[in-house]
């Protein structure tokens, strides 16, 4: 890679002021598990590298029953091991455990994954499925960006120059809520070829009052399958409904043609199969008896 000046700020404010000072010549690094590879290939060659991995104020997991708040610099293995990530947030643990390998999970961060916005990654899909709020901090005031608005294009987010992601909040749903993440890749830990994340809640009266079904990795950014969600919401989440919703997922995505990993039609079929598995597991977790 090309040489650079390595900077290690001790506070978020210091990090932001460095980014402000150096502008487009600066790049943020956290776990570096994606960035170092890009720098080695000279796809990016910043003059200044701002290492935020040591910012303790961005390294936390807080669960208060109402929701889950995770600092951007929280490392994957902490998420995997955290007792706060349970119940309706189990899909998050599921997804993190399938990222890379033990070594990657010892360094990579949730904030890094979301900011990098690689279409072939797992966490953006789940961030959208949970309707997470992503907090961005620059020289000015912090602002919250909904996951659905955060991912703009492949490797492109709504972060403005000089802004870093500081935390991700996963709002809790009240009512019996289940979630699941299903991933298709050739080997354990590979980047996903297709990923499906779902979250739904069984409200009073046993009807589903909230459903989110998201397909990742097949397009430039995660895709919300609103038709599938519409079939689930208001339903009793019977197996027949889940099958219909899974089929609908296949119709709602427009997978990018890929000479190596599969044609659009192949990815549609995979997405349908993953969606059914994910929906069934989420249903079990929501405590809905099989019907």
């Amino acid at each position: 890679m090309r040489n650079f000046e390595y900077l290690r700020p001790e506070t978020v404010a210091e990090a932001c002021s460095l980014l402000e000072r150096y502008g487009p010549e600066a790049q943020v690094i956290a776990g570096g598990q994606s960035l170092i590879r890009m720098m080695e290939l000279r796809l990016v060659s910043p003059k200044y590298l701002v290492d935020i991995s040591g910012l303790k104020e961005l390294n936390f997991i807080r669960g208060d029953g109402a929701g889950l708040e995770v600092g951007a610099v929280t490392v994957y293995h902490e998420l995997e091991a955290s007792p706060h990530i349970k119940g309706q947030f189990l899909a998050l643990k599921e997804a993190v455990g399938l990222i890379g390998d033990m070594q990657v999970r010892n360094l990579g961060t949730i904030g890094g994954s979301l900011s990098h916005a690689d279409p072939h990654s797992d966490l953006p899909c789940l961030a959208v499925a949970y309707e997470a709020k992503l907090r961005a901090q620059g020289a000015g005031a912090a602002r919250d960006i909904l996951a659905g608005d955060f991912f703009v294009d492949a490797m492109e987010t709504a972060l403005r120059p000089g802004e870093i992601l500081t935390s991700v909040t996963f709002p809790g749903q009240s009512g019996a809520t289940g979630s699941a993440y299903e991933k298709f890749a050739w080997h354990l830990g590979d980047y996903p070829i297709v990923g499906v994340g779902c979250v739904f809640t069984r409200g009073k009266g046993g009807r589903c009052d909230h459903a989110r079904v998201v397909v990742g990795a097949v397009q430039e950014k995660p895709v919300r399958c609103r038709g599938a969600e519409g079939l689930l919401e208001g339903s009793d989440l019977a197996d027949g409904v889940l099958s219909e919703a899974a089929k609908r997922v296949g119709e709602e995505i427009n997978p990018i043609a890929d000479p190596i990993y599969g044609s659009p039609q192949y990815k549609r079929e995979v997405a349908k199969a993953l969606a059914l598995k994910a929906l069934k597991r989420a249903k079990e977790r929501a405590g809905v008896e099989g019907r």
Partner: protein, 159 residues
């Protein structure tokens, strides 16, 4: 632009003060600056795990970590495993024929050691997941897994 920056770190119990290029990877620091060539460059694309070392108690691929990131930290390389004779994992690998050419072995030993520090009594499945970041061309992994499970047993018995 500074062409070198200082880094202080402890490797295998010894403290070093070095001046390194910021673009130096931890692998470069260990092999080229310190002469510890037990850590291998296998793929140079962070896929094979032959470069695995233990940084601050956690297994990492040293080719995917900047040397400066290790500042103030502690690194264990394969050279640091044999303290009073061979480490129980090394002994187990020998007796279980867990290596052939040996090129992946340093990385696997350190991945295994770091993993067993956190999970000292793993199932076979958990071991296989733990070493999924280490590629071996020779063994087909079966004897590697047996070596790790045997090493784990020895460690639990206090050698």
């Amino acid at each position: 632009m500074k062409t070198v920056q200082p880094v202080r770190l402890t490797v295998n119990g010894v403290e070093y003060d070095l001046l390194v290029e910021p673009r130096a990877l931890l692998t470069d620091l260990l092999r080229d600056y310190l002469g510890l060539t037990g850590t291998k460059r296998g793929c140079e694309t962070a896929k094979c795990g032959a470069c695995t070392v233990v940084l601050n108690g956690r297994a990492v691929k040293s080719c995917n970590v900047l040397a400066l990131r290790a500042a103030g930290g502690t690194v264990l390389t394969v050279e640091g495993l044999a303290v009073n004779g061979l480490h129980p994992l090394q002994q187990a690998f020998m007796e279980n024929h867990s290596l052939q050419c040996g090129f992946c072995t340093s990385g696997i030993l350190l991945a295994a050691k770091a993993f067993l520090n956190v999970n000292p009594d793993p199932t076979e499945e958990q071991v296989r997941v733990a070493i999924s970041g280490n590629i071996c061309r020779c063994t087909g992994y079966q004897k590697v897994v047996e070596g790790i499970l045997d090493g784990a047993k020895r460690l639990r018995a206090g050698r």
